[in-house]
């Protein structure tokens, strides 16, 4: 009686949880907000989309993906045999146990009237398969220490609950004949663990048994012509399809950056978890938001994650949309003023001119704020020299060469950016030689604040043509690095001030 009630309770929690999740796929939004895509529009588009695929030749694609990628996980096998073995052991073993053991009253008993085995060898074999799979998973996560294979609480929970179910189940089978008392204890543990797993399933990584096949199937049939509402819905659903296998982070082009910068949002697998929380609440704290923005902007759009994802998630489009949203929401980090923005430039027709330019002009404004005192006509004294600044501005060899400048203006003459403007100072604040002289005078705000730095092509014409061997472009790189540090410090200060208020 108690068991039946617990089962129903678990089923109810499971059902409500699943509904809640599915509702989220239609409610939440990622990317630039489009008010025309209401929940009802999205639900209708989804139903229409599904029906139109089922009654079209695309059905064959669906079936193919279902067999090759969902059942046999071919794409995983091609990437990593050990992981495929691990997953197939768990998947096959668990599926067998689920239908032949958990549902035995419904399936087996109806087929074979006198089904009862004192010691069921099938159960032991399939149970051992799952256990072996878990052992491989634990070995990979805790012993092998694959670089950037991060393990979070959810990964640990999944392994632990599976292990408890399996070990108690096997112990239960083995003690069935020898000791009823022990059998009963194991049975209770086994049953309770199963119920916890079932009730918590929609909120755990186990949800992927539904969402990952869904993602694989959806991405196999969706294309550039798909309804934008369906693309939005799919992208939210895909967040739940992520297994946190961290394959993407291992292949990620810029993963090494996270080793120095220390922001886990740079790694795609970690970013997904943050995004999942972000789309649901749109609030992850100022620091969390800044980290997300930095992580998502620091991406070369090399598509490796998209190609490798075993859940078939279209990460390329997800990153693009998510980046646009976080860039529009708060002032953009300096990263938007680097070649990381090239891809965004290629895709500029996907947004309005304002949406495209706003984050860029905000970032320039933030970084060049120190220069404002020069534009107001204030007379800035040349002394005393800020020698501390001059010391910090020589991070690498060659930068010290600014001292050799005798203001011949060659650098500014050959600069194609300067040459592009009739009144270059209006567009750039300072010309290259003026920046070098500002550094010589120790004028920190002038050297770090001029727009010239951020509109520098880094084509090295100036440096190549300097008769004095001043490493102009390299100095500019360094000044930009310092300006970023300054801007981050001042925004952190503003952040803590507003938090205090």
């Amino acid at each position: 009686m108690v068991y039946t009630m617990l089962l129903y309770l678990a089923l109810v929690v499971f059902g409500i949880g699943l509904l809640f999740k599915v509702a989220g796929w239609f409610r939440f939004n990622i990317g630039i907000y489009d008010p025309s895509l209401t929940v009802s529009v999205r639900i209708r588009a989804a139903i229409q989309g599904i029906l139109s695929v089922i009654f079209s030749p695309k059905l064959a694609t669906l079936i193919k993906v279902l067999v090759a990628d969902v059942l046999f996980q071919n794409h995983l096998r091609r990437q990593d045999t050990l992981r495929w073995v691990m997953h197939m052991l768990i998947f096959a073993g668990f599926t067998f146990l689920f239908f032949m053991h958990a549902l035995d009253k419904i399936i087996i008993t109806s087929l074979f009237e006198k089904y009862y085995l004192a010691l069921n060898p099938f159960l032991l074999v399939s149970g051992s398969m799952v256990l072996a799979g878990i052992a491989i998973a634990a070995y990979r996560r805790f012993i092998l220490k694959v670089p950037r294979l991060k393990t979070n609480a959810m990964d640990a929970y999944v392994l632990i609950i599976l292990a408890v179910i399996l070990i108690s189940g096997i112990a239960m089978e083995l003690t069935k004949l020898s000791s009823y008392e022990h059998y009963q204890i194991f049975w209770d543990i086994h049953f309770l663990a199963c119920m916890v797993g079932l009730a918590y399933l929609p909120f755990s990584k186990f949800l992927h048994v539904f969402t990952t096949p869904l993602s694989l199937l959806a991405n196999a049939v969706m294309d550039a012509n798909s309804h934008p509402a369906n693309v939005k819905t799919r992208q939210i659903m895909e967040l739940d399809a992520c297994l946190h296998c961290t394959n993407c982070s291992k292949r990620c082009s810029v993963a090494a950056a996270s080793d120095i910068i220390g922001n886990s949002n740079i790694l795609p697998s970690e970013r997904i978890a943050v995004l999942k929380e972000y789309v649901a609440y749109k609030e992850i704290g100022a620091r969390g938001f800044a980290a997300l923005q930095e992580g998502i902007s620091l991406c070369t759009n090399c598509d490796r994650c998209t190609v490798i994802c075993p859940a078939g998630i279209n990460l390329r489009d997800l990153w693009f949309n998510a980046r646009e949203e976080v860039l529009q929401r708060e002032h953009a980090a300096p990263l938007v003023l680097t070649p990381f923005s090239f891809y965004r430039g290629l895709k500029r027709q996907e947004m309005t001119s304002d949406q495209y330019k706003q984050p860029l002009s905000n970032a320039v404004k933030d970084l060049t704020a120190p220069f404002e005192r020069f534009s107001t006509g204030e007379v800035v004294p040349l002394g005393p020299q800020n020698s501390e600044f001059k010391k910090t501005a020589v991070l690498s060899g060659g930068t010290v060469t600014y001292a050799y400048c005798f203001t011949c203006e060659n650098c500014s003459t050959v600069c194609p950016v300067v040459g592009n403007y009739e009144a270059p100072q209006q567009a750039l604040d300072l010309l290259p030689h003026q920046i070098i002289r500002s550094l010589g005078f120790g004028l920190k705000d002038a050297a770090l604040g001029a727009r010239m730095l951020w509109y520098c092509l880094t084509c090295y014409q100036c440096q190549e043509h300097c008769p004095q061997g001043v490493k102009v472009t390299d100095i500019f790189y360094e000044l930009k690095n310092l300006a970023v540090v300054e801007a981050n410090q001042s925004s952190a200060q503003n952040g803590s001030e507003s938090a205090a208020r």
């Binding site: 670089p147 292949r251 990620c252 082009s253 810029v254 993963a255 090494a256 950056a257 080793d259 120095i260 910068i261 620091l298 070369t300 759009n301 090399c302 598509d303 300096p334 990263l335 938007v336 003023l337 680097t338 070649p339 990381f340 923005s341 090239f342 891809y343 965004r344 430039g345 290629l346 895709k347 500029r348 027709q349 860029l360 991070l395 690498s396 060899g397 060659g398 194609p416 950016v417 592009n420 951020w454 509109y455 092509l457 880094t458 084509c459 090295y460 014409q461 440096q463 190549e464 490493k471 472009t473 390299d474 790189y477 360094e478 930009k480 690095n481 970023v484």
Partner: protein
């Protein structure tokens, strides 16, 4: 002759014909390449933000090539410049090299600087040689005029990149001439394509490219010849922006060098990616219509044909 091939982030996704044609041509020329899926971003895009992160990312790739025991061959000029710069810094400043090695040790990597970093063009020019190349060009072009675009980050800073004479370079012209095509003289030959500022300051970036187009046309160039994915994407993108903005100023198509070479060698167009639909970002745009004003009408790079 064997190299570790460094293709970078953009080529496989956005300029696949560069990779395909380079592989085809290199195989035919007997230059062996070894792939390394562990190669990642060269670090160039982060140079504006943080020098140490840039150095680590670059050093990681250098150390991986060292582990392979091979010189690096780079297809992208920005990657090339970035890797050369990191190697230069680490040669000059042993303290930085040690710092990087400390970080690389976590992945079991070490960089000592034993192996060279070369751009594809240098390999063809110096390691293979122009004469050997000419011999292979069995179907040379007769009348084609190319505006050869050098690209900044291979050429400068010359003390770091060691690519060619920075003021009067000749490597790329020699290579284009070897295919039978004429490499025209044009004043903006050594100027930047504008790509580093696309996505940062588009007005400026596009204007610089427009100037190059006009200048190349004025000098009689029919196509731009490039050996860098960024330059190529920039030329493609600006052309598309000009078309959609009904900008009637002269435009030019660009072609990556191994395609030009491959055609002169009489290789299959498919094996050179000539028919590959590469313009994923362009597909939404209307096709270019011939315009009567200024300059020639736009022809597709796939129209380049060697002449008998």
């Amino acid at each position: 002759m064997k190299f570790a091939l460094f293709i970078g982030c953009n080529i496989p996704v956005r300029v696949p014909q560069y990779e395909l044609s380079a592989r085809t041509v290199l195989a035919r020329l007997g230059i062996e390449i070894e792939d390394n899926p562990e190669f990642k971003c060269c670090g160039n895009p982060i140079r504006n933000i943080d020098q140490n992160t840039f150095l680590l990312m670059a050093a990681r790739n250098l150390a991986l090539a060292e582990k392979q025991g091979l010189d690096l061959m780079v297809l992208c000029m920005c990657c090339f410049g970035s890797l050369k710069k990191a190697a230069h810094v680490m040669r000059q400043l042993p303290s930085i090299r040690e710092e990087m090695n400390g970080l690389l040790a976590k992945e079991g990597l070490h960089y000592s600087g034993k192996f060279a970093v070369k751009h594809l063009l240098s390999v063809l020019h110096h390691d293979l040689g122009i004469d050997a190349l000419k011999e292979k060009c069995t179907k040379p072009f007769k009348t084609l005029k190319m505006a050869t675009h050098y690209g900044c980050h291979a050429l400068r800073p010359s003390d770091v990149t060691e690519f060619d004479n920075p003021v009067a370079p000749s490597i790329f012209d020699d290579l284009v001439t070897a295919t039978g095509a004429k490499s025209v003289e044009w004043p903006l030959k050594l100027e930047c394509c504008g790509a580093p500022l696309l996505g940062v300051n588009d007005d400026l970036s596009v204007e610089l490219t427009r100037k190059k187009f006009a200048d190349g046309r004025r000098a009689g160039g029919e196509y731009l010849c490039v050996a860098c994915p960024y330059c190529h994407m920039q030329f493609d993108k600006v052309r598309q922006i000009m078309v959609s903005g009904q900008d009637t100023a002269p435009r030019m198509d660009s072609i990556v060098y191994p395609q030009l070479l491959g055609l002169a060698m009489g290789l299959e167009r498919d094996a050179l990616g000539m028919t590959l639909d590469i313009k994923e970002e362009v597909v939404a745009e209307p096709p270019a219509k011939p315009k009567k004003t200024a300059g020639r009408t736009k022809a597709s790079a796939t129209d380049v044909q060697p002449q008998e």
